[in-house]
């Protein structure tokens, strides 16, 4: 049964079956996919194992390689613990934003401005050194911005990895370009909008209401309209429709 015209009617079922038949897959694709996935897993596990979080009572002051330092005071300890938890959730692909405060008060004013600007780059998106420079009111200072980002004491949480060259090549990264690539890939694989299949409510990933739902009852959507078209409504707690 091939697709034939019958006046204005034609055999759509046949056409779909015919035209959507799977094409042969390139040899070696499976191996390549397995290796790629495993390499990324290994890299993220290494970040998790190697990096520690330091905090003050105001917020996280550093994410660095090395041994954990004893935090001074209960508030600092809480911030460090929270930062560590959120970082691990982020690396596991379960968190699309950091809620823990960041303390940049120990930094020079220019670097602070750069890092505060970097904090505004949304999860899963990227900007350029020059665009960031312009955004913080220092148009033309792309190189200085790059240097300030290169000395970011709070990597991952202050997302200096989301800043690329103007031609969208990677630029630099203090921990090596493979790690920058892996972080960008990680953010690409973490969705933003998820709905719960039993309540039919749509949330932003990281919403407390969503976290209470069973993990196998979550479905990703591309937009609020898409979710609405199959009967999901926006959450009143995290308000994805207001974002």
């Amino acid at each position: 049964m091939t697709s034939t015209m019958q006046g204005t009617l034609f055999d759509l079922e046949g056409a779909l079956r015919d035209r959507l038949r799977p094409e042969p897959v390139a040899a070696g694709a499976g191996r390549r996919i397995a290796q790629g996935a495993l390499r990324r897993l290994e890299q993220l596990a290494r970040i998790r194992a190697e990096f520690v979080v330091d905090a003050s009572a105001r917020g996280v002051v550093a994410v660095r390689r090395g041994r954990r330092a004893e935090a001074a005071g209960a508030a600092a300890r809480r911030n460090a613990e929270r930062g560590r938890e959120e970082l691990h959730e982020y690396l596991d692909g379960r968190r699309a934003f950091f809620a823990v405060p960041v303390d940049l008060t120990r930094l020079a004013p220019f670097q602070r401005r750069v890092l505060e600007g970097a904090l505004q780059v949304p999860f899963g998106e990227t900007t350029s050194y020059s665009a960031l420079a312009a955004r913080i009111g220092c148009a033309g200072a792309a190189r200085a911005v790059g240097t300030a980002l290169g000395h970011n004491p709070v990597p991952f949480i202050v997302p200096c990895h989301r800043v690329l060259r103007g031609d969208r090549t990677l630029g630099g990264y203090a921990f090596g370009l493979p790690m920058k690539t892996d972080l960008l890939a990680l953010e690409r694989s973490t969705p933003i909008l998820e709905g719960c299949t039993s309540t039919r409510i749509l949330c932003r990933v990281g919403c407390a209401a969503l976290a209470r739902s069973r993990p196998d009852r979550r479905v990703v959507f591309a937009s609020i309209e898409d979710a609405g078209s199959v009967g999901y409504r926006p959450c009143r707690l995290c308000r994805p429709d207001a974002a």
């Binding site: 779909l16 094409e23 790629g36 996935a37 196998d216 937009s223």
Partner: protein, 189 residues
């Protein structure tokens, strides 16, 4: 489509190993068994082989990092389709956010002269006009032959919604394809 030759272990056995110890060999086995059909679905849904491979890699990456989310009452393939469609749908969201990056499947429009005799290409263009949810269902149904029940499970919707979405998708497809009758006479015609 993919033979089960490896030590007679079922997909569920492999998932159990993955859940228990993050077993990398188990992950590799699952990739080798299922990545072919996953690639076929992703390529049709995203209209690009490169993006498809990326989405499938993300699917297996997530299968590993979120191994604890799997429940044995799920057929592993249905679970994989759930994760894969999630990854593809999220990719479609990103394209929506950043429209300056061209949509491979939707890059050309009907107004332009039909490039070559490829009816397949016409269908891909028509598919790009179908809203995301209906498109995902159409692709899963016609590339992989999923049942209404499986489709409902994969997308977290009722069987009735599956049916109405498929019907709506087909209507849009039909309209797009009959605009230019030539479209349906493919390489076989």
């Amino acid at each position: 489509m993919v033979p089960r030759k490896d030590k007679g272990e079922t997909d569920r056995d492999l998932m159990r190993r993955l859940q228990r110890s993050g077993d990398e060999q188990a992950l590799t086995q699952l990739v080798l068994r299922h990545s072919g059909r996953m690639l076929a679905v992703a390529a049709r849904l995203l209209g690009s082989r490169v993006d498809a491979e990326d989405a499938v890699q993300r699917t297996f990456f997530r299968l590993h990092t979120h191994a604890g989310d799997y429940r044995p009452e799920w057929m592993v393939t249905t679970w994989l389709y759930r994760i894969l469609t999630n990854a593809c749908i999220d990719e479609l969201r990103r394209r929506r956010v950043r429209p300056e990056e061209p949509l491979p499947a939707a890059a050309s429009t009907a107004g332009r002269a039909a490039a070559g005799p490829e009816a397949r290409l016409d269908l891909e263009r028509a598919l790009a006009k179908v809203p995301n949810e209906a498109r995902a269902l159409l692709v899963l149904r016609y590339v992989e032959g999923l049942s209404y029940g499986e489709l409902a499970r994969v997308r977290g919707i009722s069987v009735n919604t599956v049916k109405s979405q498929l019907a709506r998708g087909k209507e849009i497809l039909k309209a797009a394809l009959t605009e230019r009758p030539r479209a349906m006479r493919g390489e076989r015609g």
